[in-house]
């Protein structure tokens, strides 16, 4: 009989307007590596936040049983006291503190009189680093270590807290192949020491190589838990669980009639702004007037980075490659030049990059093309209101007035304001990055309808999305992106969720 260390039963977590988790159950055996798979937005991270107390007990329905006892965590400190430690994708280390200081942050080794005993701290840290296979001086500042080593420091920090259950969220997403292999080897060693591990990952080859069980989550529900120990479960089997949903008749019909080429990029490479690696590597793609082209890729594949680097080099450094608009090579080295060349980019994170939340609809709509409303630097406020009113009617922004503050609108209406802003620049090509993220079903349908109207007007549209059904429902053609490279291109007639997912998870070489 298996010894269950963790059981989550009937977990339901709602956010305003969205049910993120619906009756999710999860059972983890003591001492195993348990993988959690699912598309972006399926609810994996939400589930882990419930487990680690980020969402305190009472803010969700259902029960969590750890080590045989029901637990009600009020915060991270609570869950850590029980031996549950979560390591997030974005590492939570303080860059200028030493490795030892980071490991014992909030958990300092006290000596006499309450002062920190640095000798003991450094000695303990050295032992912990040794146990995760990291040969570094504990006084080295963390910033001098690479991402892979920083990940190991995080694990050492978890070990210092007497961890029983270690949760890793996309631990290898930012790592190169060698570091990934090291990390997986370390996880195996931890398993031998009896530490249970939950790992969220998109890299199916890693999961099949290391996991003992895999739970698949889809649309906020548990689909299945696969026993991996027999070695018979293949990547294809997991993919089927991840995508196997009905393609709802959810997407408005459109007659596809592509015209001449509007945008083309050739041999496009982008370097990470601070690290020495290519985030986008030798990408070629093009889009025609009246065409919707999809870019499918998992988190960290370089989708947003590709789009933003095209849009006036808003991301990365050392951007190389050629950019053509309507057959003419253009330089778009700043956002203003990109806008002048008819390129618009609708961000995936509208609150951080898309909107001035404390200002009203009117001024957000005009923000990217204020020059069109101005003569000699003076803005015609009445025309501006007219433009905003026009957008409100065209895009059906639900608000009592265009003077309403954008921060108070719902997600769907905020997204329509961002779209209005870019439509007012009158672009030839719109790059829509996750255009329906975090908005409700009704608003999604409206956004799709708007996209159809735009291509009917002869605009070219590039859609970046994590939701494969959305791409399959909207696009004429789909590119797949994996680790910064284009791994495939297919017309919509040939694309299925399975073959897209296969190309999206295609790696340079197997790991493990």
């Amino acid at each position: 009989m298996d010894d269950t260390i963790l059981e989550m039963r009937g977990i339901t977590k709602r956010f305003p307007g969205v049910t993120a988790l619906q009756d999710v159950s999860l059972a983890v055996r003591r001492g195993e590596i348990h993988a959690i798979c699912g598309e972006n937005g399926a609810g994996k991270s939400t589930l882990m936040k419930v487990l680690s107390g980020v969402y305190p007990s009472g803010s969700y329905d259902g029960e969590v049983i750890f080590d045989g006892k029901p637990v009600h965590f009020r915060g991270i400190r609570d869950s850590e006291a029980h031996g549950i430690v979560i390591i997030h994708q974005e590492l939570a280390l303080v860059p200028y503190l030493s490795t030892a200081e980071n490991i014992f942050l909030g958990n300092e080794r006290r000596g006499r009189g309450g002062l920190i005993d640095w000798n003991r701290a450094n000695a303990d840290a050295a032992a912990l680093l040794e146990s995760v296979g990291l040969r570094e001086n504990p006084v080295t500042p963390v910033i001098q270590l690479g991402v892979g080593k920083q990940q190991l420091v995080e694990i050492a920090k978890a070990l210092s807290k007497q961890v029983k259950l270690l949760i890793l969220d996309e631990p290898t997403a930012a790592l190169n192949d060698v570091d990934s292999a090291h990390l997986l080897a370390l996880l195996r060693r931890l398993r031998e020491r009896g530490i249970t591990c939950i790992m969220i990952s998109h890299k199916l080859n890693e999961i099949t190589a290391i996991a003992d069980s895999t739970t698949v989550i889809r649309d906020g529900r548990t689909v299945e838990t696969l026993d991996m120990r027999s070695g018979e479960v293949t990547q294809e089997r997991i993919i089927r669980g991840m995508v196997g949903r009905d393609l709802d008749s959810f997407y408005p019909d459109r007659v596809s009639n592509p015209g001449e080429e509007v945008l083309r990029i050739e041999d496009w490479s982008v370097r990470h702004p601070t690290q020495d690696r290519l985030v986008v590597e030798r990408v070629d793609l093009h889009v025609r007037a009246g065409e919707v082209v999809g870019i499918a890729g998992l988190m960290g594949a370089g989708r947003t980075e590709l789009a933003m680097s095209v849009f006036g080099r808003s991301y990365g450094r050392d951007v190389r490659g050629r950019l053509f608009v309507r057959g003419r090579e253009v330089r778009a080295r700043t956002v203003a030049e990109a806008i002048d060349n008819g390129i618009a980019y609708v961000t995936e994170d509208r609150k951080r990059f898309g909107l001035n939340l404390i200002d009203d609809i009117r001024r957000n709509v005009s923000a990217a093309a204020l020059g069109k409303l101005a003569r000699l630097g003076w803005v015609n406020g009445n025309e501006e209101i007219k433009v905003a009113e026009q957008s409100r009617r065209d895009l059906n922004i639900k608000t009592p007035s265009v003077m309403a503050v954008v921060g108070k609108l719902s997600g769907g209406n905020q997204q329509k304001v961002v779209l209005s802003k870019w439509l007012f620049t009158d672009p030839d090509v719109l790059i829509l990055d996750e255009p329906t993220r975090g908005i409700d079903v009704g608003a999604k349908f409206e956004i799709y309808t708007i996209i159809n109207r735009l291509v009917a007007d002869g605009k070219a549209v590039i859609v970046i999305s994590s939701e494969l059904p959305e791409l399959l429902g909207m696009c004429d053609r789909i590119y797949t992106l994996s680790a910064g490279r284009i791994t495939g291109e297919m017309p919509i007639g040939m694309a299925t969720q399975e073959n897209l997912m296969e190309l999206m998870t295609k790696d340079k070489e197997p790991v493990g």
Partner: protein, 416 residues
Amino acid sequence: MTSTKNPSTRPTASADSAPAMALHTGTSDVRTLLMSNLRQSGIYVALVVIVALFAILTDGVSLSPGNITNIILQYSYILVLAIGMVIVIIGGHIDLSVGSVVALTGSVSAVLVIRQGQPWWVGILAALAVGVAVGAWHGFWVAYVGIPAFIVTLAGMLLFRGLTLRVLDNISLSPFPAEYQQVAAGFLNGLIGGQGYDAFTLLIGALAVAGYAVSGFRTRLARIRYQQPVESFPLFVARVVAVGAVIMYFAWQLAHARGLPIVLIILAALVLVYGLLTRRTVFGRQVYAIGGNLSAATLSGVKVKTVNFWMFVNMGFLAAIAGVIYSSRSNGAQPAAGNMFELDAIAAAFIGGAAVTGGVGTVVGAMVGGLIMAVMSNGMQLMGVDQSLQSVVKGLVLLIAVAFDVWNKRRAGTAR
């Protein structure tokens, strides 16, 4: 986020119910209008209360013609600084150097006019040029090198204080010729006569009221034409009458003292120009956009570096104007001139509703904020309150004003 469920008519602020909500435009709900303008209307109310309070405490002396004139002369340069400061603060920066720049520009002018005997206008032009150059220096470091404005202008505060000492050879210069003194101490009086009062001042007051009414009415008409909500007509008339009454009372008092101060004309022109600049020009709107969300502004094609640069050039220009006014008023240049002016200007902007995080604030608000400080200081001086206590009171007012602002924002529940 509990909102009463009445989906029938009234638009609520609740975002969730938006799709199902029936919509209507028209005259906006008076309550929402008041609530959304609470931070703005709040400072006007505060100003009125403080004016009334000190009028009572000083037995009306604070509202006497002579004292009103005094307040204007005494605080004009702080108000000029506050105009530039609020723009810098809206853009998400700060300028700690303006006190030193006031001293430097004033002393350059004094050296030219007093020591070298140049005409008065040469001194003024030279001061303005130095102010612009200082602003460009700050703007370069903030915008193009990317050093936080707090550091750049803290360095500037030391740097330009030192240069002031060097320019003045560490001694005070005085006096200026009579023309130069007119800037801060001059009055327009008796231009068109009057018996015991200055008719010209009253005329200017009347013109200001008429201008306010006409421009307000035209805005109203345009809004109606564009089908935007406007306040009801009686409310509009009441507002114009109330503002008109305040202006005319003010003009009446001035007319019974020494007439219209030249510095008030300068100040009014600056408030008008910069009020329009911030609200109606591309530059002004980009300042708000940068302060409100830097990333979004960058991704909207706003040339952030250019805007930041000119923001500081403008601050230097206004600091130079303040420097000229201050040197004119004190009739000379002193090494320690302008000490702590930056703090008064910053306080005026924040009391006037500017947000520490940027993106929020108005020129008129900063003027009201500055007046609140001015009336308080002046009133306490009239009452003979101890200097130490005055400082305590001013500090508390600043703290409470910003605390109110923070509370108000939290109550409004603006996302993030």
